[in-house]
């Protein structure tokens, strides 16, 4: 026990500068964000797109940044990029009603109706929580459970009374961890067609066209190969498209 303390102190000393660095970088992003808001309000959507994209390229993100960028794209008639931005905003803030409303509106503009999202039954209660929040929730539940267990031990409670609490807390914690994992995996595979895209049987330009996807169509990315990505649409028909024609939601 005596040996833990030096290690913990070292870890803190090492990590503290990283925290301060993240805090410092937000000032410039805030300025870009506000300028983009002003540009949007004046109808200069191209500038709004540029400023929001610049803010996001500085290494930070927020639901509002993605949301405003989505609005700017939509006003600039770039439906695919707008939907991608809304989905990224939704990834960070799944319960944001503005994001959901605008995403729904943008989806309604896709020329081919998109099938509704399919979510496993067990993950439905977690739909309004982001992966990050789920992870924090799992940590909080873990800490709470562990603290309660410890308190019970100190209080001299019988083990048979403590174990049910621990099991419940553990199950809840694992549920949150699984939910976070599912959300992360789901977001990592999600993609949006940035333009009307021809899906081919093989990753080659001369390959036979299997079907076509409209701009804004949401697809699943299965794998990547030499500038092509294998995608799958909702009816499980898969094919290859060129990587630049699809925006990955798990990446900015």
């Amino acid at each position: 026990m005596k040996r833990w303390w030096p290690l913990t102190v070292l870890v803190f000393l090492f990590l503290a500068p990283l925290v301060s660095r993240a805090e410092v970088s937000s000032a410039g992003v805030q300025e870009l964000f506000l300028k983009a808001v002003e540009a949007y309000k004046t109808g200069d959507y191209e500038t709004a797109v540029r400023l929001n994209t610049q803010a996001l390229s500085s290494g930070v993100e927020s639901p509002a940044l993605h949301y405003n960028l989505g609005n700017s794209y939509l006003r600039s008639r770039q439906l695919g990029r707008a939907i991608a931005s809304y989905l990224r905003a939704k990834r960070l803030a799944p319960g944001d009603v503005d994001v959901l409303a605008n995403l729904s509106y943008a989806r309604s503009m896709v020329s081919v109706p998109q099938p509704p999202e399919t979510v496993p039954v067990w993950a439905v209660p977690l739909q309004m929580i982001s992966a990050g929040a789920l992870r924090w929730a799992a940590l909080f539940i873990f800490m709470l459970t562990a603290t309660l267990v410890l308190a019970a031990l100190y209080a001299g409670l019988k083990r048979r009374k403590i174990i049910p609490w621990a099991i419940q807390g553990g199950v809840l914690c694992i549920y949150c961890i699984l939910g976070a994992g599912y959300r992360l995996a789901d977001e990592a595979a999600l993609g949006v067609c940035l333009e009307r895209t021809e899906v081919r049987f093989e990753p080659a330009p001369q390959a036979t066209v299997y079907y076509k996807l409209p701009e804004g169509a949401e697809i699943r990315v299965l794998r990547e190969k030499d500038g092509w990505i294998k995608i799958e649409r909702a009816d499980h028909k898969s094919g290859w498209v060129q990587a630049q024609s699809v925006a990955r939601i798990g990446r900015n």
Binding site: M1, V11, S25, K41, S62, A64, L65, N102, L139, A146
Partner: protein, 640 residues
């Protein structure tokens, strides 16, 4: 038992000896009963085989010897219009195909099917197969049905020629065989005419045509509707056919008349026709007999009820003609000409003539005339000033009509605009325009309180109006919110893992404390071992005090108590056993070096000597002994 077996073998030996003395070639059966049974069985079997062979071989023998091939007609005298049956019979052979009869002079033939017959008369088996043909006499005269040939097993059999005399009867014969007779008969007895008013017209012009089927004293049934070869023409609907009689060159014909129209769909010389129709012609079978022989049913009165007539399908074809189809002239073609060709008129009316704003008026228009109505486009109703509903257009009775509801949008509407219809008149060879209207309408504004209300719903709430809701995206956000680092996983995940590590440290500390305390409570040796250094340190402190006070006895008492308590706790021994052999054994077992044990033993001796011999000790000696006690206890503590 042995006697029984020996007796059996002796009996067998005797029987073998008896067999050996029987006449040569004779085989004796084991006993007379079994021998009798076997004889009958063999006889029955031989008879059965013989019968079966006879049954199978006899027909073959008969066939080989008695094959005949004969031809026969029901009658050698027939009249034109009467059919006669020809039968070719093969006797003694069933496995033969029907002979093909083609181009029989003076007759048209039709194969009617085979019949087979097997008979056993006075033990004589015979079989025969007959092939039946219907002969339709084509003309009067004396004709010879030639000999027919049949080959069975390489043997050729021939029928005898048959002479049939055909006389002209009351019912004329029909054609269908040789082409020459067919033309002659059709021109004489059955004619199909395809009549058009002229052989020149404009494209899309509708020409009325008449198709007439003439037949005289020919029993026709099942006459079908005519079919016009419609390559390049559009054939109209057929009117109900008429049947009547007509005198042609003094001969009375029955006539079936069909009226329709044709409209050429392309220009140039167009071959029109032929028209074809099918019908069944009835032939009376000459000499038809009842299967039961001559009976009352052979009378003419009954013959009609017992199928003594044969139906012969007949295809009747008209001649064709050339139609010169001219294109419509470009000169004078109206801009909104829709392709109507003919002579048309337009009727139109609007009612009521006086309405209140919001009330409908109905426009009724109809086009009728001599041309085809199928492709005519009805006049368009101008929509300015009216709310226009989809029109109802129907075509019936040579009229194409339109009915459309119009609602004037306000009192400023004074009339329903005029309707215009353009067509090409093939008689005059020029385009024509028919205009009807405008139709004045007086629209009066609604008086206050005359707004629409549903009868019976005076007190009901106003019906909800359909509202088109605007839809747009939600406006942008003014606050950036919490930023999240996306540069690297370490920086992004730092807060999470910091909290986790901190918590785990703190939690681990408290858990360790708990576990330590719990062990102290539950593990006595452990607790004593944990207590031993503290107890020793307390004793050393007391000894030090005694030494400082110059109390030798008290010093060594404290030293003894401290060392004894220390060893007792470390080794989990009773206090009494802490000094002595047992303690040394335990120390050795725990791995304490012997020199430490020796030092401990020496210290014990010093303490014992000082306590019990009351030997005086200097302060220096007490200090040295105290340090030795401390050193020894530390050495033991480190090892344990």
């Amino acid at each position: 038992m042995v006697d029984v077996v020996a007796k059996h073998f002796r009996k067998e030996d005797r029987r073998r000896q008896s067999d050996a003395h029987s006449p040569a070639g004779q085989q004796r059966f084991p006993g007379w009963r079994s021998g009798l049974k076997a004889g009958w069985l063999r006889l029955a079997l031989a008879l059965i085989l013989l019968g079966a062979a006879g049954a199978f071989l006899a027909p073959g023998l008969a066939r080989a010897e008695d094959i005949t091939f004969e031809a026969a007609v029901q009658s050698n005298h027939v009249t034109v219009g009467t059919a006669v049956e020809l039968t070719l019979t093969v006797t003694g052979e069933k496995d033969v195909d029907p002979p093909k009869i083609e181009n029989l002079d003076g007759f048209e033939t039709r194969y009617a099917g085979p019949t087979a017959q097997v008979s056993v008369i006075n033990g004589t088996y015979s079989s025969s197969k007959a092939f039946h043909y219907i002969l339709f006499p084509l003309k009067a005269g004396k004709f010879t049905i030639p000999s027919f040939e049949l080959t069975v097993n390489g043997q050729v059999y021939n029928t005898q020629p048959i002479v049939v005399e055909v006389t002209a009867g009351a019912v004329p014969g029909n054609s269908g065989g040789a082409q020459q007779e067919k033309v002659e008969d059709i021109s004489n007895r059955i004619k199909l005419l395809f009549l058009v008013p002229r052989y020149e017209c404009f494209v899309n012009e509708t020409l009325p045509v008449v198709i007439k089927l003439y037949y005289q004293e020919v029993p026709l049934q099942d006459i079908t509707m005519p079919e016009v070869k419609n390559d390049g023409i559009v054939v109209g609907d057929y009117a109900q056919p008429r049947q009547y009689e007509e005198l042609v060159d003094g001969v009375k014909f029955r006539v079936v008349e069909f009226q329709t129209s044709i409209a050429p769909s392309r220009t140039g010389q167009l071959g029109v026709g032929p028209v074809t129709m099918t019908a069944n012609m009835l032939y009376k079978m000459e000499g038809a007999k009842s299967p039961f022989g001559r009976s009352v049913f052979d009378d003419d009165f009954f013959s009609g009820f017992f199928n003594s007539y044969q139906k012969r399908p007949l295809t009747i074809t008209s001649s064709t003609f050339e139609l010169n189809v001219k294109p419509l002239p470009e000169e004078g073609r109206p801009a909104d000409f829709s392709g109507a060709v003919g002579q048309f008129d337009l009727q139109a009316e609007v009612g009521p003539a006086e309405v209140k704003a919001g009330d409908p008026v109905t426009l009724k228009a109809a086009i009728f005339g001599s041309g085809s109505l199928k492709n005519i486009r009805m006049p368009q109703v101008p929509q300015e000033g009216f709310k226009v509903y989809d029109p109802q257009i129907k075509e019936e009775g040579g009229r194409k009509s339109l009915e459309q509801v119009l609602i004037p949008t306000g009192p400023e509407v004074a009339a329903v605009p005029a309707l215009t219809f353009n067509y090409f008149d093939p008689v005059r060879g020029q385009y024509a325009t028919v205009t009807r209207g405008p139709f004045p309408v007086k629209v009066s504004p609604l008086a206050p309180g005359e707004e629409f209300h549903a009868v019976g719903y005076a007190n009901a709430r106003a019906l909800p109006q359909r509202e088109d809701l605007g839809r747009d995206i939600v406006f942008i956000k003014d606050r950036i919110g919490g930023l999240r680092d996306v540069r690297g996983s370490l920086a992004r995940e730092l807060p999470f893992y910091t909290v986790l590590v901190l918590f785990l440290n703190i939690w681990g500390i408290f858990l360790g404390i708990y576990l330590y305390r719990r062990r102290l409570q539950t593990d006595e040796p452990f607790a004593r071992r944990q207590r031993a250094p503290r107890a020793a340190r307390a004793a050393w402190a007391a000894a030090e005090k005694s030494a400082a006070a110059g109390q030798t006895r008290a010093f060594y008492d404290a030293l003894e108590q401290g060392l004894r308590a220390f060893l007792a706790d470390e080794l989990s021994l009773p206090l009494g056993d802490a000094f002595g052999a047992r303690a040394r054994e335990e120390l050795l077992r725990e791995g304490v070096p012997e020199d430490v044990i020796a030092r401990l033993q020496a210290l014990e001796s010093v303490i014992e000597l000082a306590r019990f011999a009351s030997a005086a000790s200097t302060a220096e000696e007490m200090s040295r002994h105290l340090e030795e006690a401390r050193a020894v206890s530390r050495a033991v503590e480190e090892i344990l």
